[in-house]
């Protein structure tokens, strides 16, 4: 009954949050399921092309609406994720890597499964099929682990990401006032914000799936330990990186056609990555392409320095995410560091960027805890696994209290606003 519950619930949730987008989702699901029937016949290539053009075409058309102004359809929720997911299935069947799925219901469940439909991780059919159709839900331990993981994800999202977002959205809201050092500051903050936000969401997805006995693959592996941007992409948004590797980089030739061609392949792959994020992220993709293709130029002999350089490079190019409406604006804002320093101004005004002392302290401690957790060693993992039931009760209780008290959610209330609102 688990299957039926998951499927029905997924449909309901999608209709509630995604409304008419469900027709696009259905189209992708059904087209990918049925096209594989024709892979055993004469024109399998043609069918593949038809499928790819239609589905990727829809994805690009809807994403490009803003640029070309030819339609005004609401972009279906999760289209970037589920499109890549169905493409992976179809191509894998085409290549003979996996068998065609005979059961429509099973396949639909794979496409509609609500936890990963909205933010990933983009999952391969062969990785999740067994767990999806199994009638077993998680064991007691798995359910506990899943719930704690969800809490941890909520902590990252509400206490860290939302808190930093107050500062970054203030800085990016006024491009004439907050230039120079403010932009750089926002870039570094955004690195942490995006990580906490995205990985926090993934924690919730994986935690929830764990409760259902569904084991999804990790999407983040301590990315700030990366010693190069190349390594970064093995630790950040892993599902997307592996998808790009398997369905763009390798088909283009990978590193098997000479050095120059390899660099071109890397570039194209990152261009696609940029495009997947949106039209104004192409320059971001180009930058990452450069960082990865020419990673030798950015590495030193020191491990720590490499980690720092990687963090700095990656942070800088988040500027395109901070000013998403236009890559030109983003570049201008980044370059303003050379025209308007604002270092002193930033230092003087740090407490007027929406966070007061108390909030900065909470943020620093939370981020410290986040890094502690990310950099934890095997020793600590085993310690936790073998710890007593009291510890296992205490930790989630503390997490809940911390989230309720320090989380950034709901409408803020300031008594002082009331008293002094007009003075």
């Amino acid at each position: 009954m688990k299957k039926i519950f998951l499927f029905l619930f997924s449909i309901l949730i999608y209709i509630y949050f995604g409304s008419t987008g469900i027709f696009f989702l259905l189209f992708s699901a059904l087209s990918s399921f049925y096209v594989t029937k024709f892979f055993y016949g004469k024109h399998k290539k043609l069918w593949l092309i038809l499928f790819l053009v239609s589905n990727i075409g829809i994805l690009l058309t809807l994403k490009f609406q803003e640029v070309f102004h030819f339609t005004n359809i609401i972009v279906p929720l999760g289209i970037s994720y589920y499109t890549l997911q169905v493409v992976s299935y179809v191509v894998d069947v085409y290549r003979g890597k996996i068998e065609r799925e005979q059961n429509l219901f099973t396949y639909l469940l794979y496409v509609f499964y609500f936890p990963y439909l909205f933010i990933g991780p983009i999952s391969r059919f062969s990785d999740v099929k067994k767990d999806l159709i199994s009638s077993k839900i998680g064991t007691k331990q798995e359910i506990y682990d899943g719930l704690v993981r969800i809490l941890w994800g909520v902590f990252k999202k509400l206490v860290i990401a939302n808190r930093i977002a107050m500062v970054t959205s203030l800085i990016t809201s006024n491009t004439s006032l907050y230039q120079g050092a403010y932009v750089i500051f926002a870039c570094f903050l955004y690195s942490i914000q995006l990580y906490a936000d995205f990985s926090g969401g993934i924690d919730m997805v994986l935690g929830l799936s764990h409760c259902f006995g569904i084991h999804l693959k990790e999407n983040f592996r301590s990315p700030f330990q990366s010693e190069s941007v190349k390594e970064f992409w093995n630790r950040w948004h892993i599902a997307l990186s592996t998808w790009l590797k398997d369905y763009v980089y390798i088909p283009l030739g990978g590193n098997r056609c000479g050095k120059i061609r390899q660099k071109i392949n890397v570039f194209v792959t990152f261009l696609v990555s940029g495009l997947w994020h949106g039209t104004s992220y192409l320059l971001w993709g180009v930058c990452h392409g450069i960082f990865v293709a020419f990673s030798k130029f950015f590495s030193t002999k020191s491990k720590i320095l490499n980690r720092l350089i990687t963090f700095v490079l990656v942070s800088f190019v988040w500027v395109f995410f901070l000013y998403p409406t236009s890559a030109l604006t983003a570049s201008k804002m980044f370059l303003s560091i050379f025209t308007t320093g604002n270092y002193v101004s930033l230092f003087q005004n740090i407490l007027s960027l929406t966070l007061d002392v108390g909030n900065w302290i909470v943020l620093l401690i939370s981020v410290f805890l986040l890094f502690l957790y990310d950099f934890r060693s095997e020793k600590w993992i085993n310690f936790w696994k073998r710890s007593s039931i009291e510890w296992k009760t205490l930790v989630p209780c503390v997490l809940v209290l911390v989230i309720l008290l320090f989380g950034v959610y709901g409408i803020g209330f300031e008594v002082t606003d009331f008293i002094y609102s007009k003075f």
Partner: protein, 335 residues
């Protein structure tokens, strides 16, 4: 045995949770004197023959201590800042669970208010300190603005958690008990700001009281009738906001059709002896202590003459309690 320790941890968490809810809730106390009025009622002995209902026009203008000194009347003012009529109604419903007074005096100013006057701030001032009851739930539902959420009233931490970095001495001082700064619901204000010029009397889009407000007035009327309470209407003597003739005629009509006494004090300011040079703390919108004393003396006479009220100065027990109150009151007045 390990399970017991885990249960204890959960229990401790719940206790801390309750404590945090209380800690982050604004106590107002000294920073905002109008915030501590609702709670004070519950500690009182419930022997009030008169309950006053209304907004700041009542808690600033009517002093029950003066009513007692003059005629031995026991009264309580259940009023809060910008208390809307539906809030007066539910507050009355709650009050009647504790006692049945002989008279309810309702200040009609709130009949003019509408959706625009609904405010989260004022809601919180009034509602946060109310004891949980069906009436409180109804009141919250009727008062909530669009942005508000019912559960944030049940668990204040959901609303006030961002105050953690702004906690002040007040939050700890009044952690267990709210501040007490009223005398039977009356708030003393000794400042004097003479009435000067006032804004032009504006033309309004409509002068008719809303159907919703009139329905609540009817509900107050019915509630009083059910409990054999005499409902009396009053209008405090404020110079501003203007009490339009159109408002007045509606109230007069209502009083007539329901056989209710209605006292419009804006029309008898000379008789009361009010001098807006000295008797107001905000240029004529509210009376200060001196003005309130005059008005209360005047009203006390009317109440004594027209309604069969007990002179509690002749009741040993009650008199002892009220004498203490009056002494404290006088001390505060002379400060």
């Amino acid at each position: 045995m390990k399970w017991i320790r885990s249960l204890l941890i959960i229990l401790l968490t719940l206790i801390i949770f309750v404590g945090l809810n209380r800690l982050v809730s604004p106590k107002y106390g000294d920073s905002l004197v109008e915030g501590s009025m609702t709670a004070a009622y519950y500690e009182e002995e419930k022997n009030h023959e008169i309950i006053f209902l209304g907004d700041c026009e009542v808690y600033a203008n009517i002093s029950p201590m003066v009513l007692y000194e003059e005629e031995g009347i026991t009264a309580y003012v259940r009023g809060n800042s910008q208390q809307l009529i539906h809030q007066s109604y539910y507050l009355l419903e709650e009050t009647l669970k504790y006692e049945i007074p002989k008279i309810v005096v309702f200040n009609v100013n709130s009949l003019r208010y509408g959706e625009e006057e609904k405010s989260e701030g004022y809601n919180r001032l009034m509602i946060d300190q109310m004891k949980w009851s069906k009436e409180k739930i109804d009141l919250i539902k009727a008062s909530m603005t669009k942005e508000e959420n019912f559960w944030s009233y049940v668990f204040p931490i959901l609303r006030y958690h961002s105050r953690f970095s702004k906690l002040s001495e007040e939050d700890f001082k009044y952690f267990f008990i709210d501040n007490r700064n009223t005398f039977n619901g009356f708030l003393i204000n000794k400042e004097i700001r003479p009435a000067g010029s006032l804004p032009t009397k504006k033309i309004l889009p409509t002068y008719e009281f809303s159907k919703e407000n009139m329905d609540y007035l009817e509900k107050i009327y019915e509630l009083c009738r059910e409990h054999n309470i005499k409902l009396v209407l009053m209008k405090a003597p404020s110079l501003y906001p203007y009490w339009y003739d159109e408002y007045e005629s509606q109230v007069v009509e209502y009083a007539k059709s329901h056989d209710l006494d209605y006292y419009n004090f804006t029309k008898v300011t000379e008789e009361i002896g009010l001098d807006y040079e000295t008797d107001t703390y905000d240029g004529g919108l509210h009376l200060n202590l001196y003005g309130a004393t005059k008005l209360s003396k005047y009203f006390a006479k009317i109440l004594k003459e027209n309604y069969a009220l007990t002179d509690y100065r002749l009741d040993k027990k009650v008199n002892e309690v009220y004498n203490k109150k009056v002494l404290e009151y006088k001390k505060k007045v002379e400060e």
